[in-house]
Symmetry: C2
Subunit: 142 residues, 2 copies
């Protein structure tokens, strides 16, 4: 399927910048990229694009459900393609490494806790912070 359809379905015009961003995210669907990363990677690939456009498009894609935004520690957002299957994250507070996981027991408890606290279960996400044991821990990126 051509990516343009997903963009069109979101009520957005199928433009060059949007296609480039979506394709880049598809090529890196195992990573969590910052707007700045997307910008740099596209520039390095020889594409011409403005950083403001990246921010605008990523937000539009988020609203459209095409991508997910996460605000881990660090004061910036990271984005990943919405691959349909729900998952949570465990983030290393030292080096920023991100691992994904799902846990049925926790999913159940989440529903109960949300209900008990008067929260609507649906648009939810869970992030666990810890410290990884990687020998090269202390850098950054995920």
């Amino acid at each position: 399927m051509s990516e343009g359809e997903e963009i069109r379905k979101a009520g957005l015009k199928v433009t060059g910048p949007r296609m480039k961003i979506l394709m880049l995210l598809e090529k890196n669907d195992n990573q969590h990229l910052r707007a700045e990363d997307v910008y740099r990677m596209l520039l390095e690939a020889g594409e011409e694009i403005g950083l403001a456009t990246i921010y605008r498009v990523l937000t539009q894609f988020e609203v459209a459900g095409l991508v997910e935004r996460h605000n881990f520690e660090g004061g910036y957002s990271v984005f990943e393609l919405n691959r349909g299957h729900h998952h949570d994250h465990i983030v290393c507070v030292s080096c920023g490494k991100v691992e994904e996981f799902t846990d049925d027991t926790i999913e159940e408890r989440q529903k109960a806790i949300a209900r008990e606290n008067g929260f609507e279960f649906g648009d939810h996400s869970l992030t666990l912070y810890g410290r990884c044991r990687d020998k090269n821990c202390s850098g950054r990126k995920g």
Copy 2:
């Protein structure tokens, strides 16, 4: 017990600004305050203090284990006094309301998940994002 001791134990000089900040946090230990909130509240109380000092001191208190910093959605940090008892948070993505909870089942699963992913359990925290049903939801603050 005088609060000064806690500050001294942390290897910091017991100064006016530090006392003021710590006492303010103690008076508002049911809230999650931003640096800006602490600043405004102290100014309104007639105290003279600089915003840079608030940021510095809060970070020092965090390192010393006196306060906890949380990076919920929104792109800024909130702080609360470390009251000793561990708890997690559920945050409304619409209005920013924050509720605290603890769940033994989830605590157990956290340990297992951290272990399975090669993360050290210890310095950890868990944040659940949802949407609350408050009738006056859509404002901000927590």
